[in-house]
């Protein structure tokens, strides 16, 4: 019985016999595998990017929206559409739940901010000192909102880096007085640049105490409350506690929506993983095309080498031996092509990663394995027909073909 090593050696030997044809097929297979690798790496990068963005939001985070979404899956209402507002007192009441560590109420609006005649319309963020810890914010200079009774409307503000630059230029900002709406606020800190996070550009924002914002916008309605649970194990308890407390305060009505960071994250994870797999599936179509090319090359090769097949039979090669010789040619083709594709894909991912360092492109572990397996399976599948054709050739007829 012919040995495995000899089969592989014979295969390599005959592939080198028609180099151009073999190389073209290798190229097709390599492109297919490289496409799978690069596209899945992009998908995985997107997943990691979103994950990092969410992690930057804070840890063990729960987000409370006013209003109740009745249907599952729809986005929570961005603006409270309920008769009962979610208020600062509601938010502070959440501290009664033992699973809750920190609470940051948020009022949001826009107002003109002016300094020495320069005016800009800026998003205004009303919150408390807890905000900084929950959102893992850092200060470029000065300090964040002072601790103390959240009901006190102190005339102080913390500005983003971009606001500072556009309003004050290079002058020192700390201690300066800006006018927000018709009120005067003293700048006590500048937030360190952390870029955009989930659509909220902290650099382009002014943060003031929540009570000041209530007065400024003349409304006690919070658009969000951020809650940090004591640990990830406490998230579910915190969620229940929040719902219970708010229900009790709102006359037994469930008129808020609580979203946990984990739930959102795992939803995004699921969506993006599914997306990555479907992209990989589309790319895998090119592997099938490469498989058809393999079949084509093998058919031509069998027909060209018909006398050789006859000879192998005369020398004592059985049908199964000839089947294996030709099948292994198809598999060697697909394996070599796939290996080349992995290298090309790896280089492509590396180049993309160097060009866009901010994007966490990464090859998911399953994708090269899957690409390799599919490539070999394709070779087997599409090699079977030509190999079978060779094996079934009648030795006398095969030998007499010139």
């Amino acid at each position: 019985m012919i040995t495995f090593g000899d089969v592989a050696r014979l295969a390599m030997r005959s592939l080198r016999g028609y180099r151009l044809r073999s190389n073209l097929v290798l190229l097709a297979m390599a492109i297919g595998v490289a496409a799978v690798v690069v596209l899945t790496a992009l998908g995985e990068g997107a997943r990691r990017y979103v994950q990092a963005e969410f992690a930057a939001l804070g840890t063990n985070l729960l987000i409370i929206f006013p209003g109740r979404s009745e249907t599952t899956g729809g986005p929570p209402p961005l603006l409270g559409e309920t008769p009962r507002d979610l208020t600062l007192d509601d938010a502070l009441a959440l501290y009664r739940c033992t699973a809750v560590r920190r609470v940051a109420p948020i009022i949001f609006g826009t107002a003109p901010v002016s300094w020495r005649g320069r005016i800009r319309e800026v998003p205004i963020f009303g919150s408390t000192s807890e905000m900084m810890t929950i959102r893992h914010m850092t200060m470029a200079s000065g300090r964040f909102l002072p601790e103390g009774d959240p009901h006190r409307a102190r005339p102080v503000c913390v500005i983003g880096a971009k606001v500072r630059e556009e309003l004050l230029g290079n002058r020192p900002a700390l201690g300066e007085i800006v006018r927000i709406g018709d009120r005067r606020f003293r700048i006590i800190g500048v937030i360190g640049s952390r870029g955009r996070s989930l659509g909220m550009d902290m650099d382009d924002m002014v943060t003031i105490p929540v009570a000041s914002a209530e007065a400024l916008f003349n409304s006690p309605a919070l658009i969000r409350v951020l809650v940090e649970a004591r640990s990830s194990a406490d998230i579910e308890a915190a969620r229940k506690g929040i719902l219970d407390i708010v229900r009790a305060r709102h006359d037994g009505e469930d008129d808020i929506t609580v979203v946990t960071q984990d739930a959102v994250l795992s939803t995004f994870n699921r969506i993006l993983t599914t997306l990555t797999i479907s992209i990989a599936g589309i790319a895998a179509v090119s592997l099938v095309v490469a498989g058809i090319l393999i079949m084509n090359v093998m058919l031509v090769s069998v027909s060209e080498r018909t006398p050789e097949v006859g000879l192998l039979k005369a020398l004592g090669g059985s049908r199964s031996a000839i089947m294996r010789i030709f099948l292994s040619e198809a598999i060697v083709l697909s394996l070599l092509g796939a290996t080349g594709g992995l290298v090309i894909g790896g280089v492509g991912v590396f180049v993309l990663g160097s060009l866009y360092p901010a994007f966490p492109i990464a090859v998911p572990i399953w994708s090269p394995i899957a690409a390799l397996l599919i490539a070999v399976a394709t070779g087997l599948f599409f090699g079977a027909l030509p190999a079978g054709r060779a094996a079934r050739l009648h030795p006398v007829e095969a030998l007499s073909k010139r």
Binding site: M1, I2, T3, G5, D6, L10, R13, S14, R16, G17, P307, E308, G310, L311, L312, K313, A314, L315, G316, G317, S318, R319, S320, A321, H394, P395, V396, L399, R402
Partner: protein
């Protein structure tokens, strides 16, 4: 050694049936040197292919070394071909991309002999046909006579019981043809059974037994006396 009993082979060409062999009875003893002659289409090659297990008879029995081959599976037939039969063809049938050494090695590869053992056996085989110095040449770099000697080395590699040669000199000039015949005869003297199909009466006369075929039947089988040769 080889025993055919009422072997008939019918080919179907379109709607016509062609009877290539008709009730052929033949017995070949070990160590014989036989020539098979006859006009084109007389069934010589078909007989050779049946004996070589490349073709199955339509009816009749074929015993090789006492074993009935008629009902053997493909795998068993392949093994018999490998172990007991050597082929030499008119057009050599060497694989062009392989060197002489690799061509000679092929039966050992198909038999699953280890590479280490192969080297020595190929060396011996190449020496037996006096081609040691051409071992690394490809067929394209060899003369016709040399190519046929490579083919003979390949055919005798696994020490078969029968060597079947179909017009072994048909594609050679006279001198290399004679060389090739002498080489075959030297193997025959060492005990190998040789069956040569030929058109050439001069070559046919060299054999110790001459079989003549017409229309799928053996019409004459004469054993030469020493004086004839």
């Amino acid at each position: 050694m080889v025993r055919l009993e009422r072997v008939t082979k019918i080919f179907r060409v379109g709607e016509h049936e062609v009877r290539a062999l008709h009730d052929v009875d033949l017995e070949i003893g070990a160590g014989e040197y036989i020539s098979l002659m006859g006009p084109s289409g007389s069934g010589k090659s078909t007989l050779l292919n049946v004996i070589g297990l490349l073709d199955r008879p339509t009816s009749g029995r074929y015993l090789l070394g006492g074993q009935d081959t008629t009902d053997l599976s493909d795998l068993e037939q392949a093994r018999l071909r490998r172990e007991r039969i050597g082929f030499v063809f008119q057009f050599f049938h060497l694989i062009p991309r392989m060197t002489a050494r690799e061509n000679v090695e092929l039966p050992l590869v198909l038999a699953g002999v280890s590479p280490a053992e192969r080297v020595e056996r190929v060396d011996v085989a190449l020496r037996s046909v006096d081609l040691t110095d051409r071992a690394d040449h490809r067929p394209g770099q060899l003369s016709g006579g040399q190519r046929q000697r490579v083919a003979i080395a390949r055919a005798t590699m696994l020490e078969p019981s029968v060597l079947l040669a179909d017009e072994p000199t048909g594609n050679l000039d006279q001198r290399s043809g004679r060389d090739v015949l002498e080489l075959l005869e030297s193997f025959n003297r060492k005990g190998l059974t040789v069956l040569v199909v030929t058109h050439d009466p001069e070559i046919g006369r060299r054999a110790s037994r001459r079989i003549r075929m017409v229309d799928g039947e053996i019409v004459a089988s004469e054993t030469a006396t020493a004086a004839d040769r």
